[in-house]
Amino acid sequence: MGEVNPDLQSRVVKFPGGGVLVAGIDEIFNWARSNSMWSLTFGLSCCAIEMMATAASHYDLDRFGILFRATPRQADVMIVAGWVSVKMAPFIRRLYDQMPDPKHVLAMGGCACAGGPYRDSETIVKGVGEIVPVDVFVYGCPPRPENLIHGLILLQERIREESILGVRKREPITVQG
C-alpha cells in the first residue's frame, strides 16, 4: 500500500549506501509496526461479536501485540466489522481521517468488504472500500476468529513490504456529517 514518492526515492538512492541504510531501518520499523497493530474498536454489527471473541481468551489477539484502543488517535488499524449504512459512512470516514499515519484498514465480513447480503438494500454502502482505502478483505459471514487472525497476519505481511518512505498521498477531505 502507499505509493513511494518518486522524488524522495531518487534522492535516497543518490547517497552511497543509502539504500542499505534505508532498507535496514525499514526492516526494523516494519517489524515494530507489524507487531504492534493497535486497532480501533470499530464494531458495527455481527462481526463485532466475532471480533470480541477473537480478542477473548480462546483466540487472544494480544499474542500478536494487537490491542484495542477506543480512540482513533492511538490506533494503527481500523477493523471495520459489520455493514456500513449511508448514515454511518461519514463517521467512518471521519474516524479514518482522525487516525495518524501510517494507518491501515481491514474490512471484516462480507458486508464491510462488498455490501454482503444487503447489497440490494438502499441504505447500505456496498463495501467500506467506497469510503476508505482497504488493505485486507476478510470474507465470511461472519468470519470465524481464525479467519480474522488470518487476515491480520496478511496485513502484517503487507506492512512488512512497505517502506517508511512510502508516503500515502493524502488530501484533506472534509466530511459534513
Binding site: S45, A48, M52, S57, H58, G82, K87, F91, S121, E122
Partner: protein, 378 residues
C-alpha cells in the same frame, strides 16, 4: 420519572448555566454498537439525553417484501446477532401460523434446547460486556471463555458459530448429531460451577454493588407504560415471560421459574439475567429426558404460499418479547413483515432513565438494558 430533577435542571438553565453537550457515539466503546447518545451535561451530571439510532438500518423489512418467505430466514440471523436462533424461530413461527403448518414434537423439543443454549450464550455475553462497561474487563474474558464452549455446541449442531439459520418453516433441517445431548449436559455442569465464580468476581463485589444498586430505577408502572419486556421488565417486578405467558413450542410442559425481581434498578436487571442462566440450565436438563423419537420436519411444499391474513409470533428472546408480524396477500412473498424488536422497545426508556445520573451511570444503565443495535435498527 425524575420529574423533580428535570424541573430543577430547568431552573438551573433559566439561571443561565449552560449545559455541555457531549456526543457519546456512534463510535464509542460502550454503546454496544453504533448508538449515538447526545447528552447535555452539567458537570458530570446528565440533564438531558437524546438517543439517535438508525446507524445500522438496512431496510430488512423492506427486503423481506421482495423475497419468498423462506428466503428471509437467513436474514433474521443478523437482527439480534447475539441470539440468532430466537429470531429464526420467531420468523419461522410467524410463517407457520400464517400458513397453518404444524411442527413435529421432536423438532419442538430440539428447538427449545437450541433456544436455551443460545440464551445462555447471549446472557454470558451480557455479563461480560456489562462488566466491561463498569471497568471489570476480566469478566468479559471469563464470560467469553464459557460462551466459546456454548458456541462449540451450537456449531456442532448447526455448523455455524454465530449466525446459525437452523430453524426452518415446519421443523429443523437436520437432527441432533450423536452425543450432542451429552455435550450439552456436560456444559451445563461446567456452567453451574463457573456461575459461582462470576458471583465472586462481580455480583458480590462491593464496588460493583455500589455502582449498580439504586441506579436507574424503573418502577413497575413505568416499565409497563414503556412497553419494556424481558429481564428488563421482570427486574421491575412484572411477571411477563412469553415462555409462560403464551407458551410456544414445548415450554408449557417444562418446569422452570420466571425470574422476577422487585427493585427495578441496574443491579436487578443484571441479576435477572444472571439468574436466568440457572433457569436455562434447568430447562436444558429437562429437555433431553423427554424428547421423543420421530421426524424433525413436517412436509412443506416447495413454493410456500400463505392464505391472506395477518399473523404474529411471540418469542421470548434473551432481550424480551420478539415478535414478527406478517401480512400475507396470498402471493409467495409476504406483503409486509414487521419485527417488534425487544431492544427497540427497551431502548425507549433510556432517555428518561438517565436524566439526573452521572455519565458513568449512563454507561451502566445502557449496559443493563442490554440492547443489540442490529435489531434496534433493523
Amino acid at each position: 420519572m425524575n420529574g423533580d430533577l428535570r424541573d430543577l435542571h430547568q431552573e438551573i438553565l433559566d439561571l443561565g448555566t449552560q449545559g455541555m453537550v457531549m456526543n457519546m457515539g456512534p463510535q464509542h466503546p460502550s454503546t454496544h454498537g453504533v448508538l449515538r447518545l447526545i447528552l447535555t451535561l452539567d458537570g458530570e451530571e446528565v440533564m438531558a439525553c437524546e438517543p439517535v439510532i438508525g446507524y445500522l438500518h438496512r431496510g430488512l423489512e423492506k427486503m423481506a417484501e421482495r423475497r419468498p418467505y423462506r428466503h428471509f430466514l437467513p436474514f433474521t440471523d443478523r437482527l439480534d446477532y447475539v441470539c440468532s436462533l430466537a429470531n429464526n424461530l420467531a420468523c419461522a413461527q410467524a410463517i407457520e401460523r400464517l400458513a397453518g403448518i404444524e411442527v413435529p414434537d421432536r423438532a419442538q423439543w430440539i428447538r427449545v434446547a437450541l433456544m436455551e443454549l443460545n440464551r445462555i450464550a447471549s446472557h454470558l455475553l451480557f455479563l461480560g460486556t456489562f462488566g466491561t462497561d463498569l471497568g471489570a474487563t476480566t469478566m468479559l474474558l471469563y464470560a467469553f471463555r464459557e460462551r466459546e464452549e456454548a458456541l462449540a455446541l451450537l456449531e456442532a449442531i448447526t455448523g455455524a458459530r454465530l449466525t446459525y439459520n437452523w430453524i426452518r418453516v415446519g421443523g429443523l433441517p437436520d437432527d441432533m448429531p450423536e452425543n450432542w445431548d451429552k455435550g450439552v449436559l456436560a456444559f451445563c455442569d461446567l456452567l453451574e460451577s463457573r456461575v459461582g465464580e462470576y458471583d465472586r468476581l462481580l455480583t458480590d463485589n462491593p464496588i460493583f454493588r455500589r455502582r449498580t444498586e439504586g441506579v436507574g430505577v424503573i418502577p413497575a408502572e413505568d416499565a409497563i407504560a414503556y412497553g419494556l419486556t424481558g429481564p428488563t421488565l421482570r427486574a421491575s417486578g412484572v411477571e411477563y415471560d412469553v415462555r409462560r405467558w403464551a407458551p410456544y413450542e414445548k415450554y408449557a410442559e417444562i418446569d422452570f421459574d420466571v425470574v422476577v425481581l422487585r427493585d427495578g434498578d441496574t443491579f436487578a436487571r443484571y441479576l435477572a439475567r444472571r439468574l436466568e442462566l440457572e433457569q436455562s440450565v434447568r430447562i436444558l436438563r429437562q429437555v433431553f429426558d423427554r424428547m421423543p423419537e420421530g421426524p424433525i420436519a413436517s412436509k412443506v411444499g416447495k413454493v410456500l404460499k400463505a392464505p391472506p391474513g395477518i399473523a404474529f409470533s411471540q418469542v421470548e428472546s434473551p432481550r424480551g418479547e420478539l415478535s414478527f408480524t406478517m401480512v400475507s396477500d396470498g402471493s409467495p412473498n409476504p406483503q409486509r413483515v414487521h419485527i417488534r424488536a425487544p431492544s427497540f422497545a427497551n431502548l425507549t426508556v433510556l432517555a428518561d432513565l438517565v436524566v439526573g445520573n452521572k455519565v458513568a451511570d449512563v454507561v451502566a444503565i445502557l449496559g443493563s438494558i442490554d440492547i443489540v443495535l442490529g435489531e434496534v435498527d433493523r
